[in-house]
Every structure is written in C-alpha cells, then in structure tokens.
Amino acid sequence: MPTPKEDLLQGTLDLLILKTLALEPMHGYGVSLRIQQISEDVLRIQQGSLYPALYRLEQRGWVTYDWAVSENGRRAKYYRLTDQGRRQLETETESWERLSTAINRILRTA
C-alpha cells in the first residue's frame, strides 16, 4: 500500500473533488480513483478525509446526490455539482491559479 506522495493543502481537497465532479456525477470511490489516475498516482486520497469532505460539501449545498446503478451493477451514491457548487468551483479555481502563479513566480525568480 503506497503512502500518499503529497500532502494535500488544506482546502485543496474540496477543489479537487469539485473539479472531479464537474466532469460527471460520480460516487465516492470513483472520485478517489479519478483523482489518483489524473494526478498519475501523485495524489492519493484517504477515505478518512474523502467522505467527511463529501458530506461537508453536501452540507454547504455545493454538491448533491442521487442513488444510481453503477458500472459493476450495484447501487451507488452518485454525487453531482449543484449550480452553487459550479460557481464555487470557478472562484476556487481562480484563486488557486492566482496562488500557484504567484508561487511559481517566486520560485523562478528566487
């Protein structure tokens, strides 16, 4: 069992989950799998953080869920973005880009 290669910045997990769900509705397992795949195994998300995060996002009204039959034929809880979640994703992406540009600039010049 590989340990996570990178610790996630506080708040970044929410952004990642929102981005993942923006592509298509997905269950919890799918979310963690997709993040892992897209980051080419750099980012692994502990279930212990994933589910509380999903519940928190749902509580804030950024995601909601439906139960649907999944690819393996079982019923799974599919999360999807709400309109509010979509707006949130935009703002968070923007601020993340600002932040990372700034950090990159510092790294390059220093």
Binding site: Y29, G48, P52, Y55, Q59, S70, A76
Partner: protein, 899 residues
C-alpha cells in the same frame, strides 16, 4: 430554492425521522467503496482474505470516518437531544410503575403551582383587555392621609375642567331586585346580576367597542350587556338587541354586547350589564346625582399620551383645590364633621391598567402564603423524584460505568440523564396542567371569586417554566452523582462511592420530613383557629335564624308607600314555624353600620368629647330574636320613642359604678341634607333618648373584632322604603322562605324579599378567608406528608433490599425477627426525628406568616405542635411498615446464598 427544500426535508428527516436513513445511506456508501477496493485488490492478485484485510487497513477506522461524517451535519446538539429523548422514552416505557409514580408526583406539585399562579395572574398581574391599558389611571382624592371618592357633581366639574386626560369616567355598582327582558320575561336571579352605573365616556375611554351593537348614545335609556350575561341569561340571541330590559321599574333598550374578553374593570367581579349613570335616580330610591355628600363610585381616566403621571397629578390637584374651595364657600361640601382644608387636599393617580379589585386586599395575603406553600410542596415532590432517580441510578451503575469506560463524555452523559428528568418533568407538567384544568372550578369556589380561568399562553408558559426548572432541580444532583464514579464497572462496591450515595437520599427524606412538619403545623394552627371561631360564643345565637332584606317598590305610585313594620311583624309572627321576628335598619352582622356623635352628660366619666357611638334602629322583638340576652331593664316595645337599649360595654364605659337605667343620651339633629348639626351649648335643645335596658355584648361585624359601644334605638315611626328582617324559626328555616314571600306579597304586592340567608351563612361568610386558608393548607399539608411518606417508603424498601445480606447474617447468628423490624423502625425514627428537629424551628418562624389569621391559639401552641409531630411519626411508621415486614421475612439461608 428547490435544493434548499430538499436539504431542509433531508435535515428534518435526519432529526426526527428514523435515524436509519442517514446511517443506512452512509453504510451503503462505505460498504460499496470497501467492496470496490477489495475487488481492485483481488484483481491485482491478492487472495480474497488478503484483499479484505488490506482494504480494511487502507480504510482505517470505519467508525471514526462515520463519526466525522456525522459531525459535518448541522444541529448536532438537536440531533443528540432527539436521540436522548428517544432513549429516555424507551426507558420510561420499560418501567411504567416508576413513570406513573413520578408523573403523578410531579403533576400534583406542578398542578398546585399552576393553580395558584392562575389566580395570582388573573387578580394581580393581568392587564384589562383594553387597548393601551398602561395609560389608564385610577383617580382618587386625598384629604391629608384619608382617601375618598368624588361626589357626582364634583366628578362632573373635574371632568369638565381637566386637560390631562383623553377620557375620564365614573363607575359605580348597581343592584336590582327585579329584571325582566321583553320577550323572555322575568329573570330568576335578579339579585345575582351585577350592574354598573357608568358615565357616558365609559366605553370610549376604555377603548372597548361593544359588538354586536354599539355603546351608549346620548339617550339615558340604553343598556349594554356583557358577553357572559348575553350567553347565560339570554341564550346568545342576537335579536335581544333593540329589546327592552326592565331593571326594577326602569326601562332600557339593549343596544350592545361587550366583547367576550371584557367584563368590566374589576377582576374577580365580572359585570353583567352597564347602564348610564344618569339613570341612577330611576333605579334607586334616592337621587345621588346632584348630592355633593354622596360618594359612591370609582373614577378612572386615560392619560393623554404626552402627559406624565406627576404632571397630571399637579394639574388635577390645583383644579380640585379650586373646586373644593368653591364647594365650601357655597356650603354644599361633602363633609360631615370636619370642614376640609383645601390646601391639604390633593389628587393621586395610580396605575389603572389592571383595574381595581377588592379581591386584591382580601386575597393578597392568602395567595402570597399559598404561593409559598405550593412551592414547598413542589420542593418535596422534587426531593422525591431526586431520590427515585438516585435509586434508579444505582441500578444503572453498570450501564453508566460501561459507557464512561467506552469513552462517553461525562457532560454528554449528564445531558442524557437530564433529558430523562426533563422528559419526566414535561410529562408531569402536562399532567399537572390537566389537573389544574379539571379542578379550577373548585379553586374558584374556595376563593369565592368569579374569574374566567381559561388556560391561556401565560399559564402555559408558566407551567412549562416551572416544569423545566423542576426537571433540572430534581435531575441535576442524581445525574452528577451517577456519573461521578470511576469508569470501572466494579466501582459500586467501593466504599467511598457507597457512603455519599447513601447519605444523600437520607438527607433528602429528612428535608421532606422537615418541610412536612412546617406545613402540618401551619395547617394545624388554622384548623384550631377555625374550631375556636366556631365554638366561640359571639353573644348571639345563630341557630335557625333567617335573614332577609325587605324592599318596597313603588310600582303604582299611589296609596301608602312603604313598609309598615307592625304589619310585617304581625304577618311574620303569624306564620307557622316562626318563633319570633324583628326588623332593623341595616342587616345584622353585615358590616354596615351607623355611627353618631353623642353627649352623655349624666355620665361621670365623660370620655373624649368627639366620642362616637354606634347605633342601630331596631323593632321590638329584634334583640330577642338574634338571641342577645337582656341584662337589665326592659326590651323595646312597639310604639317606643326616644328610648335606647345599650350594650354592656357601653354601660361599663359610661356608667362603671352607677345604674345606667333612666340616664339620657343626646344625639345631634339632622338638617335637610341629612348632615349632623353641631351640638349647641344648651343640650336641652337636642334630641335626648332614655336608657331603658342593657343587653349583653355581642360581635357585630366580625368575630375577631372587639365589641364597640352600641345603642339600639326604636325604628323611626311610619312607613319605610326598606329594612332588614331577622327571624328565628323552630327548625331549619330554609323552607320558610316561600311562605314568607307569599305572605308578604299578599300583604302588599310592592314588597319584595331579597338576600335571604341564614345567620350561620352570614357569619360563615366572614370566615371565608380563614376557611380557604385552612382547607388549602390542610390539603397541601397532607399532600406534602403523603409525598414525604412515599419518599420514606422508597428509601426504606431500597435500604432493606440493600441490607438483605447483612440482616440474613444477623439472623443466622441468632437475631430475632423483631430485631430486623427494629432495625428498619430505628432508621425511620432517626430520619423522622431529624426532620422534626429541623422542621419545628422552621415552622415556628414560618407560621409568623399565618399569625394574623390565628384566633385563640398561639403559634407555639404545644397541642398543635405535638399533634403535627405525632401525626408525622405515625405516618412515617406506617410508610415503613411494609419494608420492615419484608425485613422480618428474610430467610437467612436464602439471603446468604444471594450474590
């Protein structure tokens, strides 16, 4: 918006729906995830067992994840509260006996508090149901320290001259002897109908709009009726509007019905109908409207919004002094003896938003005392509950120990235990409220007030508040106590925990006993008082004596007008079953009296010059009928004039050594306004009466008051418009009333008989306050004792159960059964004596509050104290009888095999 609704619904389901929905979804979701990981592991080449293990390891603690997920949800406290509530409900349902006893105990305690509060609220706290009650003020005049009401002419002058009120009105009582309504006929109980003479601005000042119908117009022949009167007497018939109602012999048109929530400005004395004050001369014999000597109504006003109380008082005082000076100058002043100094006169305004009520003076002390008593009862109930919960907690030690060991927070556990006691309190409060609702009629009868004690939000809020406080009081200590032990299930056997655990229940029971002693002593003192008052010889004999008022109503306007005393007495004495009869001006023992300045020049002792003598005009046979003994001289005879019979006290005061017979008493003359003309220096000019007899002293208004000096004078000769009759019958006089009515109507159809009651009732009414207090205090005293005994019984049963083993050992070693019984009784006695030792000093202090109710008994009366203590010990012994019996039945073999 829609999303919000979905979340709201999910939230509600979360809170109150089955907990399984949220939990099940979470479980399903996590299981799904776990299965996918296992599958993934298998696909990567692990065996199913390895795959499962690896998946679980990677997952970490599922319980923790769940807990974290749960914590993200809002209203965690609320959700936990609901969870606690369910748990508490399940626990209660599992022990219905415990639930029933606790709820009943609380219902009694809380119900008593609700009942007393409802009275206090209705009489003392509630505002009148009118707009802006805070603007209303009661207007009174003061001459020096002496308060007085206005005469109607003075009221009119003030109303016309003032500029501080937006409205001002006069309101005085009206009584009727006959009422008939067009289309309905004569109403059966005219005397019970409360009428009110009110000035024209009454409804507009109060801001009350009669509906259906309207307020008075300018016509003084219009009447407004109350909702209660409309409903009870007139069948809520809308067509009564516009019909004629005849009061005595005056006719009025019913123009409106007052709103249901408004029944006049005197809580406890609802008004049935209002009539214009200008109609007073048509209802009553005497025209009071132009007389500056008659004060017979209250004055209430509404301050203009921008005028302060003090400012208004100053303006009114100036106005009143001016008017008073004019009045004195014109010689029409309202004062009998002393001419007032206008400079000493002032107007005082007091807040009138709660109306005025004579019940306030009458009931304030009893209610204040009862409030204290019901709080004590509730406290005893709390102690009981606390003890029950402590006993229960000892059975739950294991459960609580385990939960603490599993990491439950102490605060969380206390919260859960408190939820249980609050649930009990709320159920008890609800039951108490029902109890109050069912018994409020009895309460009103006891307090002899007429109130509409419909439960409203104020009473509900009060009950809920009391229940909550109660729940915390009786729940907190057991909760703290139960969660204090170490998180080790075996803790119950440790000695330290046991000592504090056993001490507290004993203290609580001792406290209950102490409070019971206080209440029992109070009740005992009042019972003694009532006995003393009943056994006391008042100087007259009330057995089989009937009282009634006789009125002559001039319906024809011709012939002889008035009652001829000789004729009436002849008629009454002729009735079978009548022993004797007599007439008097004012009713016997009714509190109404005449006093007059007198001069007694024959007396060597001349008490102060301003001496006033109480007088009563009576017919021949009167003194004999009420049972006052003649000590010297003769009785009054028909046709006597200018003679008097004095009482023993007067004889002793004025003629301590001489024979009073034949001495003269001088009374002043009256002018045409019926005011006394001051004595002239030559007493020969005045009216003299000769003392012809002396009767024994008697009580005249109140059994407690000292007997005043009294002179009985013959009735003024000739017909009279009204008088009071006393009549002694051979047997119970109740069934004489109809024959009397018939006989007197036959004599003269204009005569009406009213206010019939026995002398015993008349005297009994003056003891209403004492009776109310005695009944309620006895009831609550017994209730408190019953609760305390329940507590004692519970404690002793528990204690016997706990000591089974010890007692078994003692018996195995040869102790007799009586020894086991002795153990229990000894403990009971110690607890009770402890209660007595604390309770007696408390009682001696607390009974100060009832001191002024007492009659013929001291607060420290040894008989009462001994009776209270003896009764307490007896009841305590009874309560511990069953546990003692159980202790004596313990079989050593069985007891030793236990545990």
């Amino acid at each position: 918006m829609f999303g919000f609704l979905v979340r709201l619904m999910r939230g509600c389901r979360d809170l109150f729906g089955s907990k399984t929905r949220f939990e099940a979804e979470m479980d399903d979701e996590l299981v799904y995830h776990l299965e996918r990981v296992i599958q993934e592991n298998i696909e990567s080449g692990m065996t199913p067992a390895e795959a499962r293990r690896a998946a679980h390891v990677s997952f970490g603690g599922v319980t923790q994840i769940k807990e974290e997920c749960r914590d993200t949800r809002p209203m965690r406290l609320a959700r936990e509260a609901v969870q606690d509530l369910r748990y508490a409900l399940r626990l209660l349902a599992k022990s219905p006996g415990f639930a029933a006893v606790s709820i009943l105990t609380l219902a009694l305690g809380i119900g008593a508090n609700t009942a007393i509060f409802s009275l206090v609220d209705a009489i003392f706290l509630k505002n009148l149901a009118v707009p802006h009650p805070e603007e209303l003020v009661i207007v009174e005049a003061f001459h020096g320290e002496e308060g007085r009401n206005f005469s109607y002419p003075m009221f009119r002058d003030i109303a016309a001259g003032q500029q501080v009120f937006s409205g001002i009105y006069a309101s005085g009582g009206a009584e009727f002897s006959r009422i008939s309504v067009e289309g309905i006929g004569e109403l059966p109980s005219a005397e019970a109908v409360q009428g009110r003479f009110v000035s024209r601005d009454y409804f507009s000042t109060l801001g009350v709009n009669p509906a259906p119908g309207r307020a008075f117009g300018q016509d003084d022949q219009e009447a407004v009726i109350s909702y209660g009167f409309w409903q009870k007497q007139l069948g809520k018939d809308r067509s009564v509007l516009g019909r004629v109602i005849t009061l005595n012999q005056a006719s009025f048109v019913i123009v409106g019905v007052a709103p249901r929530e408004f029944s006049g400005e005197s809580p406890g004395n609802p008004v049935d109908l209002w009539i214009p004050i200008d109609s007073q001369p048509r209802i009553e014999q005497r025209d009071l409207l132009e007389v500056r000597t008659a004060t017979w109504f209250r004055t209430i006003a509404r301050l203009k919004p921008d005028v302060g109380l003090r400012q208004a008082e100053a303006a009114l005082t100036a106005l009143y002094r001016r008017l008073l000076a004019d009045e004195i100058a014109s010689g029409t002043g309202s004062l009998i003896h002393k001419a007032p100094n206008p400079e000493e006169a002032r107007i005082a305004l007091s807040p009138g938003g709660k109306g005025f009520s004579w019940h306030r003076g009458r009931l304030s002390q009893p209610l204040w005392l009862l409030t204290l008593v019901v709080v004590l009862v509730l406290l005893i109930a709390c102690f009981n509950l606390a003890n029950l919960l402590l006993a229960r907690a000892s059975f739950r030690q294991r459960e609580i120990g385990i939960r603490l060991a599993l990491g439950a927070g102490r605060l969380r556990l206390i919260r859960q235990l408190l939820t249980e006691s609050l649930l009990l309190a709320v159920l008890g409060g609800a039951a108490g409220f029902c109890l109050f609702f069912l018994t409020r009629g009895i309460l009103l009868t006891l307090a002899s007030v007429q109130l509409d004690l419909r439960p409203d939000w104020r009473i509900l809020v009060f009950t809920a508040g009391v229940a909550t406080v109660t729940g915390v009081i009786f729940g907190l200590v057991p909760a703290l106590q139960a969660t204090r032990l170490q998180a080790v299930p075996s803790a119950p056997h440790s000695v330290g925990a046991r000592a504090s655990r056993i001490l507290l229940p004993h203290l609580l029971v001792t406290g209950q006993m102490a409070l019971s002693v206080v209440l029992l002593v109070g009740a005992g003192l009042l019972v003694r008082t009532l006995q003393n008052l009943h056994e006391f010889n008042p100087g007259f004999d009330s057995e089989n004596v009937l009282l009634f008022e006789l009125k002559h109503e001039d319906t024809t306007g011709q012939g002889v007008t008035g009652i001829l005393p000789e004729q009436v007495l002849e008629r009454l004495n002729a009735l079978p079953g009548v022993r004797s009869a007599g007439l008097s001006g004012a009713s016997f023992f009714s509190g109404s009296m005449n006093t007059s300045p007198v001069r007694v020049p024959d007396s060597r002792v001349n008490p102060d010059a301003d001496a006033e003598l109480r007088t009563e005009r009576v017919s021949a046979g009167y003194l004999d009928t009420v049972g006052m003994r003649l000590l010297m001289g003769r009785q009054l005879n028909p046709g006597d004039r200018n003679v008097a019979i004095i009482n023993s006290r007067m004889a002793k005061r004025y003629f301590p050594t001489e024979n009073p017979l034949g001495k003269l008493i001088y009374f002043p003359r009256l002018d045409e306004q019926r005011r006394y003309v001051p004595f002239s220096s030559n007493l020969e000019m005045e009216q003299a009466v000769e003392i012809v007899g002396v009767v024994g002293d008697a009580k005249y208004d109140d059994l407690r008051q000292a007997t005043p000096c009294m002179a009985y004078l013959p009735l003024t000769p000739g017909p009279t418009a009204g008088c009071s009759v006393v009549l002694r019958a051979a047997t119970e006089p109740g069934n004489l009333i109809e024959p009397i009515r018939a006989s007197l109507r036959q004599l003269n159809p204009s005569l009406s008989v009213g206010g019939t009651r026995t002398l015993e009732q008349q005297v009994g009414e003056t003891l209403n306050g004492e009776r109310l207090m005695t009944q309620l205090l006895s009831f609550f005293g017994l209730l408190a004792l019953a609760l305390a005994c329940m507590g004692l019984y519970g404690l002793m049963s528990y204690s016997v159960a706990r000591r089974t083993r010890e007692i078994g050992v003692r018996m195995a070693l040869g102790a007799r059964r009586s020894h086991a019984v002795g153990l229990v009784f000894k403990q009971t006695l110690l607890l009770t004596l402890g209660g007595v030792l604390i309770g007696l000093p408390l009682a001696l202090v607390a009974t100060r509050l009832v001191e002024h109710f007492l009659f013929g008994v001291k607060r420290s009366d040894p008989g009462v104290l001994a009776a209270a203590v003896g009764f307490l010990i007896l009841m305590a012994a009874l309560a511990s009888y069953l546990p003692a019996w159980r202790a004596s039945r313990i079989e050593p073999a069985v007891a030793l095999r236990e545990e």
